[in-house]
């Protein structure tokens, strides 16, 4: 058996694009492989994103906090559909459906050409409005969204493959340029659990005077795949670890709750316990500790 690692990279890039695009302002142009990307407001302060590529369509619900706004948690629902730069058609089962078609109503603009491209060398952007229907209701109604007209842009192609500089070529092949930066010491605690078509990951890392926390849960339910993520930052003390790395405690802020305790006994066995949990949109209080998790506590040097 093989293949999983290799087949993962292309969609993983797209998923990274999805996550990255969540942080983009409304009305941002599609790129990074997404053929279509639209934003609209949801109820209870959520931002709803609709998009996709090829036969993969998604609806995302994101919750941001603070000032300036910082992304706190997202749930992305992925289904089979038909997606192009000018239309999207997909059903998300009991959560809703999306059926939109683009109607241009503004000028066509072209971006500045890039050099040394494989294929197109610029984006063509058409302003207009997507007409049809978006109906979405998150689990137990944590947010709802409905719209029949969404102002947006049709951007083609979904991405450019260009090599403007030697640095970009080296980057493409995973080779870095420039002087090596001196990295600060990072303490990292990671816990992963995968079973059948569910997977949960938690990572806490402490660098200088700040600790960051990330939780991801992915699952499939029939014809729907769901990807949930949550983020938090806190003072460094919220991840405490002994110098010997035999014990660590995490106390992340919302959307996390509770504490997690990592202990390594003298024989090397790892224990990961405590009431640590995370609340994703539509999936509150997901436990993040227990013997089912595989854990790692490391420190860079």
């Amino acid at each position: 058996m093989s293949g999983r690692a290799r087949r993962a990279w292309t969609p993983a890039l797209c998923l990274v694009a999805v996550v990255a695009l969540l942080a983009m302002p409304a009305g941002a142009a599609a790129k990074n492989g997404l053929e279509l990307d639209l934003h609209l407001p949801g109820s209870h302060g959520y931002e709803i994103e609709v998009g996709g590529y090829d036969t993969t369509a998604f609806v995302s619900a994101s919750r941001s906090v603070g000032n300036p706004r910082r992304l706190e948690a997202t749930s992305t629902y992925i289904a089979r559909g038909k997606v192009s730069a000018t239309s999207i058609e997909a059903s998300f089962g009991s959560l809703g459906h999306v059926s939109l078609r683009f109607h241009p109503n503004g000028p066509v603009t072209r971006t500045k050409p890039r050099r040394h491209c494989l294929g197109p060398d610029r984006y063509t952007i058409r302003s207009g409005v997507f007409v049809g229907a978006v109906r979405f209701r998150g689990e137990d109604g944590y947010t709802t969204a409905e719209s029949h007209r969404i102002a947006g842009k049709s951007v083609t192609p979904p991405e450019l493959v260009c090599f403007d500089s030697i640095a970009s070529i080296l980057r493409e092949f995973g080779l870095q340029t420039g002087k090596k930066k001196k990295h600060p010491k990072v303490t990292r605690l990671r816990a992963d659990w995968r079973e059948a078509v569910h997977a949960t990951s938690f990572e806490a890392s402490r660098k200088a005077d700040e600790a960051t926390f990330v939780a991801i849960h992915q699952q499939t339910e029939g014809k729907l795949a769901i990807y949930r993520s949550a983020y938090a930052k806190a003072p460094a003390a919220s991840l405490g670890a002994q110098t010997s790395l035999s014990q660590a405690t995490v106390r992340p802020p919302a959307p996390f709750s509770g504490t997690g305790l990592f202990r390594r006994d003298p024989r090397g066995a790892k224990l990961w316990s405590g009431p640590l949990a995370v609340s994703f949109p539509g999936e509150p209080d997901v436990p993040l500790t227990g013997s089912q998790f595989k854990t790692q506590l490391t420190r860079s040097w």
Binding site: M1, S2, G3, R4, A5, R6, R7, A8, T10, P11, A12, C14, L15, D54, T55, T56, I78, A79, R80, H116, F163, S165, I166, I169, D192, W193, R194, E195, A196, V197, A199, Q218, Q219, T220, E221, G222, K223, A225, Y227, K294
Partner: protein
């Protein structure tokens, strides 16, 4: 300088470009391939070199643990076999496969990555050994004369289409494959909710590749998350703890009909195995294999 770098890049793209067809003929002699695979080489062959490593150790709490088939040469199990491969870079590897009924009596179904991997056809000394056990080849060795896969696997390694087929030559005794094994039927386009017998020759712990293993009567239990991110029919998950080496092993329904193959799994969940759904693309590949000889 940039022009030079671009030239290098182009050269790299060209040298690693996949072949343009979805099948390849094997030019090497079947006899040479059969003779290359000595018992010692077969016993020592690992799972394909690029295989992901599973965590190892028995699957705690697995509800469908694989069990060894004591007699892999009897009708009903002898259609399952081990596949031995030499990669483009000269490394040895192995997969699993199943003989299926066909007009040419010579088709083996396996995983796409067991016939075409990283842009290259695995035409080097590809052999199928039905009923393989402890380095022995009780029913002979069948060398590939033709390899094929789906266009989606060949062009983009889309895991939803990770199926390959081989048309094999006669064995060293001059027998066709379906003359010595009771080949399975093959079916595509069926409902996803099936109960499978999953066969294969897992190499990595807790197995050793020496014997045929079977997860009996394991039902469909959903789709892999990653399957949603590429085009094509969603794949299938089953509860079965096989490890690398079992790639291409048959998923059999109703005791005699091939309706899936093992494609992949995750190293942090040894209990679950994934395989592509057998849809129309698999039917097209099968018909192409039937015409190949």
């Amino acid at each position: 300088m940039l022009a030079f770098a671009l030239a290098c890049l182009l050269a790299l793209c060209l040298t690693s470009a996949p072949a343009s067809a979805d099948s390849a003929s094997v030019s090497a002699s079947p006899r040479a391939a059969r003779e290359y695979w000595t018992a010692a080489r077969m016993r020592a062959a690992p799972a394909l070199p690029e295989s992901r490593r599973r965590a190892g150790g028995p699957a705690a709490g697995a509800s469908t643990a694989a069990e060894a088939i004591a007699e892999p040469t009897v009708p009903g199990t002898s259609q399952n076999g081990a596949v031995f491969i030499v990669t483009e870079s000269g490394l040895r590897g192995r997969c699993s496969g199943t003989a299926v009924q066909a007009g040419n009596r010579s088709i083996v179904v396996t995983a796409g990555h067991c016939v075409h991997d990283f842009g290259h056809w695995l035409t080097g000394r590809w052999v199928f050994v039905p009923g393989y056990r402890y380095g022995e080849r009780p029913l002979g060795t069948f060398a590939a004369e033709w390899l094929g896969t789906t266009p989606q696997w060949r062009k983009g390694e889309n895991g939803n289409f990770d199926v390959g087929m081989a048309v094999v030559s006669r064995n060293e005794r001059g027998q066709r494959l379906s003359d010595v094994v009771e080949a399975d039927k093959i079916a595509w386009g069926l409902p996803r909710r099936q109960v499978f017998d999953v066969y294969g020759y897992p190499v990595e712990e807790p197995f050793d590749g020496a014997t045929l293993q079977r997860c009996a009567q394991t039902p469909y239990e959903g789709h892999d998350f990653l399957s949603f991110l590429t085009s094509g029919p969603l794949d299938l998950a089953v509860d079965c703890n096989v490890t690398p080496g079992s790639s291409g092993g048959g998923w059999v329904i109703r005791g005699d009909t091939l309706n899936g193959v093992t494609s992949s799994g995750y190293s942090d969940d040894p209990k679950t195995t994934f395989g592509p759904y057998f849809g129309a693309a698999i039917g097209r590949l099968y018909r192409e294999a039937e015409r190949a000889k």
